[in-house]
């Protein structure tokens, strides 16, 4: 499902953010990517989501070879992905329901399906009662859950999450990881970047550790 081979990323021809990264994650697998801040976790995720191009190397995600992806194909590739960012990236002038429904809206799903599916997902992340609220009225943890709901609402083949529990208390962190596990159990590949080693130990999942841009 995710194949990376000999991936390099260099900024300004000086700073080597990623050095010869090769990894393979199978379909339906749950994998943690661990490492200290600045190790290159976010850079890998930017490459996988097609947000940045690698300096060299190959990336294949959900049967799309990102090196050969045309501009026209990028939106359709992204529909196969669910991405959770560290800074949530929510639309501040839209309420919780509208934010979560966005991926379904851009894919042209009918209104009644969108309503049913968004309610289902909001119930899963425990935010159904806050569906009318604007993001600015929510706590950091709640905003993170909205971002997660938006990432899973269209049932993508791959979910990548950059520090999804970074703003949550331990109880909520475990609840969110449970949500990811549930999604994974339905056949979705889940790839989570975190530096919460305690939580990683408890979950007993495959772990890829990165340090100074190398595995």
């Amino acid at each position: 499902m995710i194949e990376i081979s000999h991936l390099y990323k260099t900024y300004n021809q000086k700073f080597h953010a990623l050095k010869n990264i090769s990894l393979e994650i199978n379909s339906g697998e749950f994998v943690f990517l661990t490492g200290p801040s600045g190790a290159g976790k976010s850079t890998i995720f930017k490459m996988i989501s097609g947000y940045e191009a690698p300096t060299s190397g190959n990336i294949k995600v959900a049967n799309y070879n990102l090196g050969k992806l045309s501009n026209k194909d990028i939106p359709f590739f992204r529909r196969k992905l669910g991405v959770v960012f560290q800074d949530f990236k929510l639309l501040l002038d839209k309420n919780v329901f509208d934010n979560v429904s966005l991926p379904l809206l851009v894919q042209g799903y009918p209104d009644n399906f969108i309503k049913r599916r968004v309610h289902e997902v909001l119930d899963t992340v425990g935010l159904l009662h806050k569906k009318e609220q604007l993001p600015e009225c929510l706590s950091g943890g709640e905003q993170q859950r909205v971002a997660i709901a938006r990432a899973i609402v269209h049932q993508p083949g791959v979910i990548i999450a950059d520090e999804p529990t970074g703003n949550l208390d331990p109880d909520m962190s475990h609840h969110i990881i449970d949500v990811f596990e549930k999604v994974c159990a339905q056949g979705t590949t889940v790839f989570i970047a975190t530096h919460d080693l305690e939580m990683v130990k408890k979950r007993n999942k495959r772990v890829i550790a990165i340090k100074d841009g190398a595995i």
Binding site: S49, R79, R150
Partner: protein, 294 residues
């Protein structure tokens, strides 16, 4: 100020400044349109005088009159006899020569003539072309000795109007380009303020056309709303000046000349404002630096 208020404020400012620019263009157009009509009337190009030969017979006069009445652009033909011409001359010079004698000699000198009123439908230049054509047709008629329509004065007048047209054209173009640049920059800042929204839409797999659509609709809407407000504003100003300077306008007998915009001109203006909004949005959204390689 929360995000929604910020967005509403930016839209309001954009509409306000766009309205100001469009009002300038519309006001300028209405002003020059009416100036053109006033100077056409002041040019007094509505009359042509055809002087007859001295030995022309009455039946020849009637025949000539019928022919003239059948010509294009002729509104009314009045035949002035030698005697009537003398009377008119005496009235005109009464202030300067109190004792005009030898009326008999004057009658011998004065030619009888046709005074032809011309239908003015188009611009000054169109009227001038029609008059010149009519004059050459009249000159070919046997009974007519000379045709007068103040050709020298009219040519100079025409030149003057050409200068006015060129001047208004240049000023108009400068105004249109300036307004376009102002609107374009406002819409650009609007788009850049919403860069985050665009970025999020890209992340969740929205196509370029899906992202562009609301911006294009918004540009169209800004142009349309600003256009409507400009129309109302300039129409109100037009009415205000008509009422305020009613006496002066009546004095110069130009009250029937002033007009606002015809239905077609209003439609054309609305199309112009919508297009300007749409094009500004299109250019800026196309030139927007997409974050994710799209």
């Amino acid at each position: 100020m929360n995000f929604n208020t910020q967005k509403a404020f930016l839209k309001f400012t954009t509409v306000l400044i766009t309205t100001a620019g469009l009002s300038l263009i519309l006001g300028f157009f209405v002003f020059f349109k009416n100036l053109n009509r006033v100077i056409t009337v002041w040019g007094d190009v509505e009359k042509v005088t055809a002087y007859l030969n001295s030995d022309v017979a009455l039946d020849e006069v009637q025949e000539a009159r019928r022919k003239i009445e059948a010509l294009d652009h002729v509104k009314k033909v009045t035949f002035v006899t030698k005697e009537q011409a003398v009377e008119e001359f005496k009235t005109q010079v009464a202030g300067f020569l109190h004792d005009v004698k030898e009326e008999g000699s004057l009658v011998q000198l004065m030619p009888s003539y046709f005074e032809i009123e011309v239908k003015v439908n188009g611009t000054f230049d169109e009227t001038l072309v029609a008059i010149k054509k009519m004059a050459s047709t009249l000159e070919e008629m046997k009974v007519i000795e000379e045709v007068s329509y103040g050709s020298l004065w009219l040519d100079k007048y025409s030149q003057f109007i050409e200068y006015i047209y060129s001047f208004s054209g240049v000023i108009g173009m400068i105004l249109v380009v300036t307004v376009f640049l102002v609107i374009s920059n406002l819409i650009k800042s609007n788009i850049y303020q919403r860069a985050r929204e665009i970025e999020i839409l890209e992340i969740i797999g929205a196509t370029k056309s899906y992202i562009r659509k609301p911006f294009l609709i918004e540009g169209l809407f800004i142009g349309l709303v600003s256009g409507i407000i400009s129309l109302v504003l300039i129409f109100s100003l037009f009415r205000f000046f008509n009422v305020k300077f009613e006496k002066q306008i009546s004095f110069f007998r130009i009250q029937d000349i002033f007009s606002f915009l015809s239905t077609w001109e209003i439609i054309a203006f609305m199309l112009f404002t919508s297009t300007i909004g749409l094009i500004s949005s299109y250019i800026n959204i196309v030139r927007f630096k997409w974050n994710s390689g799209q």
